[in-house]
């Protein structure tokens, strides 16, 4: 896309502009939660780069400097804590009548060594259910009409290998693993529920990506992980709805 834009004479720094980059139709729209940094921010960046319109959810928009760096007419930043269902409803209202091609439920959290046996409170555990499970359902409920009215109709849940029963682990990280396993179940359930509306639902493990959440202790960069997931999102057949994949397309066991 960059080379295309450059070839027709726009400077590269105008890539994020209001010009129609996509001749012959409306550019798609994505909604991304947890968009202030890491994987969410990279989804926003790549979709903008491809000319999409993006609605980015962040708990503290004022502090989201990564999103500020991407500012343009096609990017709207919304105050969104997915554990706050009032904020989700407000986002849903603001998008009424706007088709949403891809919803990326990315907002997530992890409390490091306090995930292990005997180390976490019920409140901390419930907070992860709010963000990883209830918030995802609430986003889908709030945006379903916009999603169903779009061309691509995709719901993408960012899960984890930690939520997989078949993925080798050495010890339990209870809040994270249980909520991601439950998210995987929700993915399968929604795939069935929304099949007759033509909505494709999938979950991904993004890999162990170098982000703030992982202390950047990885060679896998968001560019590659998100690039892989976006290609899969775009290419997945509707009849494969309810699937769990690695960012590179490998099948994940439940």
């Amino acid at each position: 896309m960059i080379s295309f834009v450059t070839a027709i004479g726009w400077p590269a720094d105008r890539i994020c502009s209001n010009f129609p980059l996509y001749v012959g139709g409306t550019m798609p729209t994505a909604v991304v939660t947890g968009a202030s940094r890491g994987i969410g921010l990279e989804f926003v960046r790549q979709y903008l780069e491809d000319g999409w319109t993006v609605h980015a959810g962040a708990r503290s928009p004022d502090a989201a400097t990564g999103l500020a760096d991407l500012a343009c007419d096609r990017l709207s930043v919304h105050r969104l804590d997915v554990s706050d269902h009032e904020q989700i409803a407000a986002l849903g209202r603001s998008l009424e009548g706007t088709p949403v091609d891809v919803l990326v439920n990315n907002a997530g959290m992890w409390i490091d060594e306090d995930e292990t046996l005997g180390r976490f409170t019920d409140a901390a555990w419930m907070e992860q259910f709010e963000v990883h499970l209830f918030g995802v359902m609430a986003m889908c409920e709030a945006l379903i009409e916009s999603i169903a009215a779009s061309e691509q109709r995709r719901i993408v849940n960012i899960s984890s290998g930690n939520g997989s029963f078949g993925w080798e682990k050495t010890f339990g990280e209870y809040p994270y693993n249980t909520t991601k396993a439950a998210l995987n179940m929700l993915t399968m359930g929604l795939a069935h529920d929304l099949a007759d509306r033509g909505v494709t639902v999938m979950c991904f493990t993004p890999g162990f990506v170098a982000t703030d959440m992982t202390d950047h202790a990885s060679d896998l960069k968001p560019l590659e992980s998100v690039g892989g997931m976006r290609a899969l999102v775009a290419g997945l057949d509707t009849d494969r709805s309810g699937i769990f994949l690695r960012y590179n397309g490998e099948a994940m066991p439940w």
């Binding site: 046996l117 419930m126 409920e141 029963f165 682990k169 249980t178 909520t179 396993a181 929700l186 069935h192």
Partner: protein
């Protein structure tokens, strides 16, 4: 002969009551737990003349679990049956989700079993069989979900299965074994009168499996009548 000991949650009716009845009838010492002991007339009758104790326990309340642990003093436990559970209410369909009920269901079906197990690890260490049996459901199997809906109940049982998998991993070296069960579609208050499996059949099958659980079986998901199930 050394007496074996079981602790059962949600023991006032259904499958929990049947676990208490069967273990007690076989001469086990039974700690039968329920929220309202004074209303648990069937349980009281089942344990009459047996080696059983009824405890008040709400698995969602930390202080309630603490009181139970105190009451057990230094007694060893062979088998913990995490049976207490709820179905999650009437509003579980997409577009009609009752989030307050979802939270309540997670507290009872996921956090409760974890907290009870965590609080009783020392008691289980002192036992001989050292089995934690979580009464889950095939509804929690992602592989088996061919119809959608029932999101509250399904996700709670998937999460409970992940508790099973994690505990099995963490307790392996300690010699404790953890399994999940699908009890079948059982004719109880929860399952309804038309269900094809009786509580007696379901419980007898699960007890047979529990008796044979070792390191090889730990961390797995079993149907009440024996076969392993997909997650």
């Amino acid at each position: 002969m050394v007496t074996s000991t079981a602790l059962i949650t949600g023991a006032n009716r259904g499958i929990g009551l049947e676990f208490a009845r069967q273990y007690a009838a076989e001469g086990w010492r039974v700690h039968a737990c329920c929220r309202e002991p004074e209303e648990a007339s069937d349980l009281t009758a089942a344990l009459a003349g047996r080696n059983g104790v009824i405890h008040r326990l709400d698995v969602t309340q930390e202080h309630s679990i603490h009181t139970l642990v105190e009451a057990l003093e230094d007694e060893a436990l062979d088998v913990l049956v995490n049976n207490a559970g709820v179905i999650g209410g009437e509003h579980q369909d997409f577009g009609d989700i009752d989030y307050a009920m979802w939270r309540t269901t997670i507290r009872t079906n996921v956090m409760g079993p974890y907290r009870v197990a965590e609080a009783l690890l020392d008691r289980l260490d002192a036992g001989r069989q050292r089995v934690i049996a979580n009464v889950s459901s095939l509804m929690g199997s992602i592989t088996d979900n061919g119809s959608g809906g029932d999101h509250i109940y399904r996700t709670s049982k998937t999460a409970l299965n992940m508790v099973t998998a994690c505990l099995a991993m963490d307790l392996r070296e300690r010699g404790l074994h953890v399994v999940s069960f699908h009890p079948g579609w059982v004719a109880t208050d929860m399952g309804g009168a038309s269900a094809p499996v009786t509580p007696e059949q379901s419980t007898a099958g699960m007890r047979r499996r529990i008796a044979g659980v070792g390191a090889e079986q730990s961390g797995r998901f079993y149907n009440f009548d024996g076969p392993e199930l997909a997650w």
